[in-house]
Symmetry: C2
Subunit: 377 residues, 2 copies
């Protein structure tokens, strides 16, 4: 197979790099932000709108899709791309995270996890074999190894045995037959322990994957702890494979992680908080619900070229938001995704121009956390 991942440019002052990832449904230019399409839909958005926003690749959640509507139905539909009418690349996570965070846990064995669905309480089993089989049925372009994602904090002993299980499961995933052209990424765990993170990375590299994710972050730890876990892992990941940091983050965090050598990120943040009225801008976040916007007839963000900003005012979108109108959710989601995706575009341009650190610092200094980002939906 042709080279999956090419490095196109390296920033002179940071570990940031531009890459090109070849997938069965097209090329992804990295660094990239992946909108999350949990239940076979990026909430509120049509595929055409995602293309208009220049989203290159989206994420689907295997756990949710296995529970509803079921991998079998989606396979019957011809795979997830056909089911949801998205013809671009799709990355599916393995279900490992949700099994440990959402499901009512029954029991962990060497073969996987028996659990009760959070939707209807049905007893299900998900392990490396079942997860890969589901992702094959879904037909994603990038599948993720089934891992155990420990909570934070967790003691070293638990982190160690959890890592061992994750590595064993990763090896089992690697043995499974994938769909044509489907890539497989491993997930490095190890919690906050440097030697475990190093060990996890080395052992996954020894198995050999198409890319490497850093998991077990954004699970409640302080931001600085998240960064440390990335810094203690990346040096042990091969430079010629993509690095995927799962579940991160705010725009400044994303730029910081790119500077660390991360190529891919996903996060529900822009879409989830949009539905609560929190607007992302290059200056930071704010809540459209704030009274000061009641008669503000400017756009969500001055100078933004997204559909919401070209056509509608803060006053109107605030009205929609307070009136619980679906169009409001659409417009805020649209804008937030535009902010994220355009920021990543600018990041790639800055890397190509050899000025990423300057871009990152300018962005960070202009960006202020706003009136309390409410992430609890």
């Amino acid at each position: 197979m042709t080279c999956t991942f090419d490095i196109l440019a390296r920033d002179p002052r940071t570990a940031a790099r531009n890459g090109r990832l070849n997938t069965a449904h097209g090329i992804v230019e990295t660094p990239v932000f992946m909108p999350v399409g949990t239940q076979a839909t990026v909430k509120c958005m049509t595929p055409e709108e995602l293309h208009e926003l220049k989203a290159q690749i989206i994420l689907g959640n295997t756990y949710h899709l296995v529970i509803r509507p079921g991998a079998g139905l989606i396979a019957k539909a011809g795979g997830l791309h056909k089911f949801m009418s998205w013809d671009g690349p799709i990355l599916t996570d393995s279900g490992g995270y949700q099994v440990f965070s959402l499901a009512k846990l029954r029991k962990i064995s060497k073969d996987g996890v028996e659990f009760q669905s959070h939707v209807d309480g049905a007893t299900l089993f998900l392990g490396p074999c079942e997860s890969i089989a589901a992702q094959v049925a879904l037909g994603s372009d990038i599948a993720m190894a089934f891992d155990e994602c420990p909570h934070w904090p967790c003691d070293r002993e638990y982190a160690c045995s959890s890592l061992e299980l994750t590595v064993e499961w990763a090896a089992r995933c690697r043995e499974q037959k994938l769909a044509d052209g489907q890539l497989l990424f491993g997930i490095v765990q190890g919690s906050v322990y440097p030697e475990l993170r190093e060990r996890g990375a080395r052992e996954l590299v020894a198995i050999g994957f198409d890319g490497y994710a850093i998991g077990g972050v954004s699970v409640g730890e302080p931001p600085a702890e998240m960064v440390r876990q990335v810094e203690m892992t990346v040096p042990f990941l091969p430079p010629d494979k993509p690095r995927y940091l799962m579940g991160v983050g705010t725009p400044p965090q994303i730029l910081d992680m790119i500077a660390c050598g991360v190529d891919m990120m996903d996060c529900v943040l822009p879409t989830r908080v949009a539905r609560n009225g929190t607007i992302f801008t290059t200056s930071g976040t704010y809540s459209i619900r704030n009274a000061q916007f009641q008669d503000d007839f400017g756009p969500l963000e001055e100078g933004c070229e997204c559909y919401a900003c070209r056509r509608f005012t803060r006053a109107y979108i605030r009205h929609l938001c307070k009136a619980n109108e679906i169009l409001g959710l659409r417009l805020m989601t649209w804008h937030n995704l535009h902010l994220y995706l355009s920021t990543l575009r600018r990041a790639r341009e800055a890397i190509a121009a050899g000025r990423f650190e300057e871009f990152r610092r300018e962005f960070a200094s202009a960006y202020t956390e706003g009136i309390g980002v409410d992430e609890s939906v």
Copy 2:
């Protein structure tokens, strides 16, 4: 001013007619169905999508808009068209219906109704003067007279005094200064009493309006009773002015009412039941939630050319619906509006071809009420 309403064609066998209504924001070809945009948005839809669906005119609810976000704010935005970015014609109702159905009623006087907002309990007053002033501030193309809409059933004595108040308020509305180019329609009440309906029509015509609505229907009466009220009213409405039947109906009902000489109708039905998973088709309605559609990879309606049917399957939309996903609400709303608007287009074509009765009968015989239309949202 040029002629507001031209009759372009009369069906030879029914009272149906094609018309052209000139408004400040464009021409409306009648008979027409008006999607309802209660809170300055047709739920789920952007203005572009409404144009794509060839919606000619939409309805805004004065009561809701006065309460939130307020007529003053909308005026400050430049009017409702600018506020919601819809550049086509808008009809605003007067608030009369909601005041009597939604608000916690305080008291009726000769000048209007003092009531408590259903949103925040604030004490408000709405009468002919306030209603027209609000509609002027909103800047709609067609304003409605402020009326009293009696419940069904109501005794003759109540219907009579209610009608007298409605006619007096209509006269007061007529005296108000309207916005440039704004039309004003009167609303005929009279409940189920033929002599009251006749009296209401004659007295409104004597005052003189740009169009005449039949109100007080679709308030719980049996469908046959609704038809009777229309039949007892239309003969007394001038043939050269548009007739607007408020709050009606299913597609077959709409065609029946066109045959009676009705030119304009609005109803929340297609959009409201869409959000419950009820799909309108030329064969009738059905619920997408039904298990038989779980693996049905055909469109919502075979042969339908709407976006939802061209791009997505029943199985997927059913999944979205059961997963409470907003994209599902969008697609079902889209399809139902397309069904309604395309049916009206076909009606106009049939009238122009002199075969409306044939079209109406064919449509009715193909149409079967489906698996229980759930109108309770």
